[in-house]
C-alpha cells in the first residue's frame, strides 16, 4: 500500500468529477459519493499508517531508539528510508519533471489527519448544508479540496506541491464564496485568494531558486543537497526567505493574515476543514517538508533571532489580542487559528520540528472541533447567527453535548494538562527555552495566557449567562454531534502520542522517521516548564472568568472605553484590526490605482507616445530629405552627369574621326613603330 499511496489523492479527485456529472441526479445529491470517496481515502490512509508504523518498528528492531540530538540519517545511509514512487512526466535534457509520491513519517501523519477531519466534515455537512442552493457543488468542491490537499501532502517534487498548493487555494476561494450572491462573501473569497496569491509569488520564486540551486525539483534531492552543504548559504537564505513569504500568505502569518477572519464568510464546515485543520497548515507543512532549507538558510541551529521565529512570534500575539474584541464566534476562532499557526511557525523557527508538527496534529483536532461546535451552535441555537453578544448566551442548558465538547476543545486549545494542546504547546516552549530563544519562550507563554483568556470569554458569551437570541435553541442532530464527540476524543487522546512526561514518544518515532532533517534538539520533558505553562493558562482562565463571569460583566472595567479616551482609542485600534486592512486597501492599492496609475498614464501619453511620434516625424522628415537631396540631386545628378560626360567625351572623340584616310594611316604607322620598339625592348 505504501507505494500505492497515490490512490489516496486520486479517489477524491475522481469523486469530484463524478459528483459534478452525476451528483444532482442521486438521491442524496452527491453527498453519498463524497462521503464514500473520502471514507475510502481514510481507510487507505489508516492502512498506510499501520504499514508505516510497522516499517518503523521493523527498522528499529522492535524497540524505539531513544536518544537526544539524534539526527535521522539521510536515506541511503542505513537509516529508515522513505517510500518513493514516481514516474517521469517529461524529461528535457538534465531537467526531469516527475510525478509521484514520497511517503515518510510526516506525509503519513498528514494523510491520516487530513482524511480523518475531512471525513468528519463531510458527514457533518450533510446535515449542516441541507437544503442549500448549491449542495452538490459544495460536496464536489469539498472532495476536490481533499484531493488537492492530499496531493500536496504526498508530493515528491516542488512542482507537484505547487500544483496542490494552488488547487487548495482555488478550492478555498470557491468555498468561501459559496454564497457569492451576497457581496461580502464574494469579496471575502477574492480577498482570500489575492492575499494568498501575494504569498504565492514568494513560493514560486523560492521553488525556482531552489531548482537552480539544487538542479532538481525533487524534494529529497533538494533536502539532501541542503543538508550536505552543496548549496551556498546565500542561496539557501534567499530561497528560504521566498518560501517564507509563501508560508506567510497561506498560513495567515503577519502581515498577510488579513484574509483569514474574512474567510469566515464561508460555510462553517469549510472553515473547520480548510481554515483550521488543513489548508492553512499547508504553509507549516511546506516549512516542515523543506526544513533543511530553512534550517540552514536561516541558521536556526545557531540560536539568535531569525525571520521565521520572529514572524511566528509576532503572529501569536497579534492574533491572540484581536480575538478579544470580536463579537462573532467564528472570528474569535479565526484569530485563534492565526495565533496557533504563529505557534507552529515559531516552533519551526526555533528548531522544534517535532513540536511544530505535533502541534499541527493536535491543533487540527481541537480547532476543527471548536469550529464544528460553533456551527452546531449556529445551526440549532442562534438561528444561523454567529454573533455571540446578540444571539447567544446560556446555551449550555439547551445544547449539552455541544457545550461539553466545546469546553473540551477550549481547554485543549488553552493547553491544560492532560489534554492534547498541553503536550504539543509545552513541547514548543521547552524547545524554545532549551535552544536559548528566551524571548520566544516568553512570547509563547504570553500567548498561552491570552489564548486561555479569550477562549474563556468566548465560552462565557456563548454558553453562559442569559439567552439573548430568539427562537428555540435545541441540541443538534447526531450527524452534527457525533463528529464533535469523535474530535473531542482525539483532542484528549492525541496528546498522549507524545506524552514525554510518561516517556511516550510514539509520535516522534513514527513521524519523524525518514524525514530529511538536520540535527535537531530533542529536549527532555521539563517538569518546571510544564508547570509554568499550565499555571499561565490557568491564570488566564481565572482572570477572564473573573472579568466576565461576574454578575456585572467586566467588573471595574465595564464601560471603560466610554470613560477613558486612551482605552477607547486602543479599542478602536483593535476593532479596526490594527488598521491593516485600511493600509492595504487605501494606501497600497488606492495609491497604485490613483496617483501612480494616473502618473503612468501621463508618462505613456506624453513621454512614450511623444517619443514614438517624434521618431515617426523624424523618419518622415529624413525620408523627405533623402528624396530631395540624395535622390534628386545626388543620384539623379550622378546618372545625368554620367550621361552628359559620355556625350561630351563622344563629342571630343568625334574629332578623331576626321574622315581623312591619311590621318588614320598616320596613326597606324606611328602605332606600329611604337609597338615594335616596345616589343623589341621587352624581348
Amino acid at each position: 500500500m505504501l507505494s500505492n499511496a497515490w490512490l489516496i489523492p486520486l479517489i477524491p479527485a475522481v469523486g469530484f468529477v463524478l459528483i459534478l456529472f452525476f451528483g444532482k441526479h442521486l438521491p442524496r445529491k452527491g453527498s453519498e459519493i463524497a462521503i464514500t470517496t473520502v471514507g475510502a481515502s481514510f481507510v487507505l490512509a489508516c492502512i498506510v499508517l499501520i504499514q508505516w508504523i510497522q516499517r518503523v518498528n521493523d527498522h528499529d528492531g522492535g524497540g524505539a531508539l531513544r536518544g537526544f540530538g539524534r539526527a535521522v540519517l539521510p536515506a541511503g545511509e542505513g537509516g529508515l528510508t522513505a517510500v518513493d514512487h514516481s514516474f517521469t512526466w517529461w524529461q528535457n535534457g538534465a531537467v526531469r519533471f516527475g510525478v509521484g509520491t514520497h511517503l515518510d513519517g510526516l506525509a503519513v501523519m498528514m494523510l491520516f489527519m487530513v482524511t480523518f477531519v475531512s471525513l468528519l466534515v463531510h458527514v457533518y455537512s450533510t446535515t449542516y448544508m441541507e437544503g442549500d442552493r448549491r449542495y452538490t457543488h459544495y460536496f464536489a468542491l469539498l472532495n476536490l479540496f481533499t484531493a488537492s490537499m492530499l496531493l500536496l501532502v504526498v508530493a515528491d517534487n516542488t512542482l507537484e506541491l505547487l500544483i496542490g498548493w494552488e488547487l487548495v487555494g482555488f478550492c478555498s476561494f470557491a468555498l468561501i464564496g459559496h454564497w457569492w450572491e451576497e457581496k461580502p462573501n464574494s469579496d471575502a473569497a477574492v480577498k482570500a485568494f489575492l492575499t494568498t496569491r501575494v504569498g504565492d509569488v514568494g513560493l514560486m520564486i523560492g521553488i525556482i531558486v531552489l531548482f537552480f540551486a539544487a538542479g532538481s525539483f525533487d524534494i529529497a534531492t533538494i533536502n539532501a543537497k541542503a543538508l550536505g552543504g552543496d548549496i551556498s548559504h546565500t542561496l539557501l537564505l534567499v530561497s528560504a526567505s521566498c518560501l517564507l513569504i509563501g508560508i506567510i500568505g497561506k498560513s495567515g502569518q503577519f502581515p498577510l493574515h488579513t484574509w483569514l477572519p474574512d474567510a469566515m464568510a464561508g460555510p462553517t464546515p469549510v472553515s473547520a476543514l480548510i481554515h483550521a485543520a488543513t489548508m492553512v497548515v499547508a504553509g507549516v507543512y511546506l516549512g516542515a517538508r523543506l526544513y533543511p532549507v530553512f534550517f540552514r538558510g536561516f541558521s536556526i541551529g545557531d540560536g539568535g533571532l531569525n525571520a521565521m521565529a520572529l514572524i511566528g512570534g509576532v503572529t501569536i500575539i497579534i492574533g491572540a489580542v484581536l480575538a478579544f474584541v470580536q463579537r462573532d464566534i467564528k472570528k474569535v476562532l479565526a484569530y485563534s487559528t492565526i495565533s496557533q499557526l504563529g505557534y507552529m511557525v515559531m516552533a519551526l523557527g526555533v528548531g522544534a520540528w517535532v513540536a511544530a508538527i505535533f502541534h499541527l496534529f493536535t491543533h487540527a483536532f481541537f480547532k476543527a472541533l471548536l469550529f464544528l461546535g460553533a456551527g452546531s451552535v449556529s445551526h440549532s441555537g442562534s438561528h444561523h447567527s454567529f454573533d455571540m453578544k446578540s444571539d447567544m448566551g446560556g446555551l449550555r442548558k439547551y445544547m449539552p453535548v455541544t457545550f461539553v465538547t466545546f469546553v473540551i476543545g477550549s481547554l485543549a486549545l488553552a493547553g491544560i494538562f492532560p489534554l492534547a494542546g498541553f503536550w504539543s504547546k509545552d513541547e514548543i516552549l521547552v524547545t524554545a527555552g532549551d535552544a536559548g530563544f528566551t524571548a520566544f519562550l516568553v512570547v509563547g507563554l504570553f500567548g498561552a495566557f491570552l489564548t486561555a483568556a479569550y477562549m474563556t470569554r468566548c465560552v462565557y458569551l456563548t454558553f453562559f449567562g442569559e439567552f439573548r437570541g430568539h427562537g428555540e435553541p435545541h441540541e443538534s442532530p447526531p450527524t452534527l454531534t457525533v463528529p464533535l464527540v469523535l474530535l473531542s476524543v482525539m483532542s484528549i487522546a492525541a496528546g498522549f502520542l507524545n506524552a514525554e512526561a510518561f516517556g511516550i514518544e510514539n509520535f516522534r518515532e513514527w513521524f519523524e522517521g525518514a524525514v530529511a532533517l538536520p540535527p535537531l534538539r530533542h529536549p527532555s520533558f521539563n517538569s518546571l516548564m510544564a508547570v509554568v505553562s499550565v499555571t499561565v493558562a490557568v491564570i488566564g482562565i481565572g482572570i477572564a472568568a473573573y472579568l466576565w463571569f461576574q454578575r456585572e460583566e467586566l467588573g471595574p472595567f465595564r464601560n471603560l472605553t466610554q470613560r477613558n479616551a486612551a482605552a477607547r482609542a486602543g479599542y478602536r485600534f483593535l476593532e479596526n484590526k490594527y488598521y491593516l486592512d485600511d493600509l492595504y486597501d487605501n494606501v497600497i492599492v488606492g495609491g497604485i490605482k490613483g496617483p501612480i496609475a494616473r502618473a503612468s498614464y501621463w508618462v505613456n501619453q506624453h513621454v512614450i507616445d511623444g517619443v514614438v511620434n517624434a521618431i515617426g516625424r523624424g523618419t518622415a522628415a529624413a525620408a523627405r530629405e533623402t528624396y530631395d537631396v540624395i535622390d534628386q540631386k545626388v543620384v539623379d545628378g550622378a546618372v545625368n552627369g554620367l550621361a552628359e560626360t559620355t556625350g561630351e567625351t563622344g563629342g571630343l572623340l568625334r574629332y578623331i574621326q576626321s574622315g581623312r584616310v591619311q590621318r588614320y594611316a598616320l596613326t597606324l604607322f606611328a602605332a606600329v613603330g611604337a609597338l615594335s620598339l616596345a616589343l623589341w625592348l621587352v624581348y
Partner: protein
C-alpha cells in the same frame, strides 16, 4: 670590294635618291619618273642577286605596264602639270613617324642580321635559274598561281566597272 658590291652601292644610291624624289617632288610627272628610276634600280638589284627571272618580270610588268598606267592616270585625272604643293598638312608628323620607323627597323635589323652574309656562289646560281623557279611555281605554288590569275581577272573587271561612266 667586289664588283657586286660596287654595283649594289651605285644602284642603292640611285634608288634612294629616286625614292626621295617620288615623295618630295612638286611635279606629278616628275614623281612618276622618279618611280621609274626606283623600279629600274630594283630590277638591276635582282639581277645582281642572281634572280634573273624576277628581274626581267619586274622590268616588264612594273616599268612596262604599271609605270605607263600611272602616266595614263595622271593624264586622265587632269593632274596639274605645273609645279604645285602636293603635301598635306601632316607632313611633319608623317616625317617623324617615317624616321622613327626607319630607326626602329635599322635597330632591329642590325640586331638580328648583323653578321649574315649573302654568298653568291655557283650553288646559288644553279638554284635560282628560271627552270627551278618555274618548277616551283607550277609544283609547289600552283594553287596560289591559279588564285592570282583569278585575282587579276577580278581586278580587271572591277577596274572597268568602277571607272565606267554611266
Amino acid at each position: 670590294m667586289t664588283a657586286q658590291n660596287v654595283a649594289f652601292w651605285g644602284l642603292a644610291i640611285a634608288m634612294g635618291a629616286g625614292a626621295i624624289g617620288v615623295v618630295r617632288s612638286r611635279n606629278i610627272v616628275h614623281a612618276a619618273l622618279f618611280l621609274i628610276v626606283v623600279l629600274v634600280g630594283a630590277a638591276a638589284q635582282y639581277i645582281v642577286l642572281l634572280a634573273e627571272f624576277v628581274g626581267i618580270t619586274q622590268f616588264f610588268i612594273y616599268i612596262g605596264a604599271i609605270a605607263v598606267l600611272f602616266l595614263f592616270g595622271i593624264m586622265l585625272t587632269r593632274a596639274p602639270m605645273r609645279a604645285g604643293n602636293f603635301d598635306n598638312d601632316q607632313r611633319w608628323p608623317a616625317a617623324v613617324v617615317a624616321v622613327f620607323l626607319f630607326g626602329v627597323l635599322i635597330a632591329l635589323l642590325v640586331n638580328a642580321f648583323g653578321h649574315d652574309e649573302i654568298k653568291l656562289s655557283d650553288e646559288l646560281l644553279r638554284v635560282s635559274r628560271t627552270g627551278p623557279v618555274a618548277d616551283s611555281i607550277f609544283r609547289n605554288f600552283v594553287v596560289p598561281f591559279e588564285v592570282v590569275s583569278m585575282l587579276l581577272l577580278a581586278a580587271l573587271v572591277g577596274a572597268v566597272v568602277i571607272a565606267r561612266r554611266d
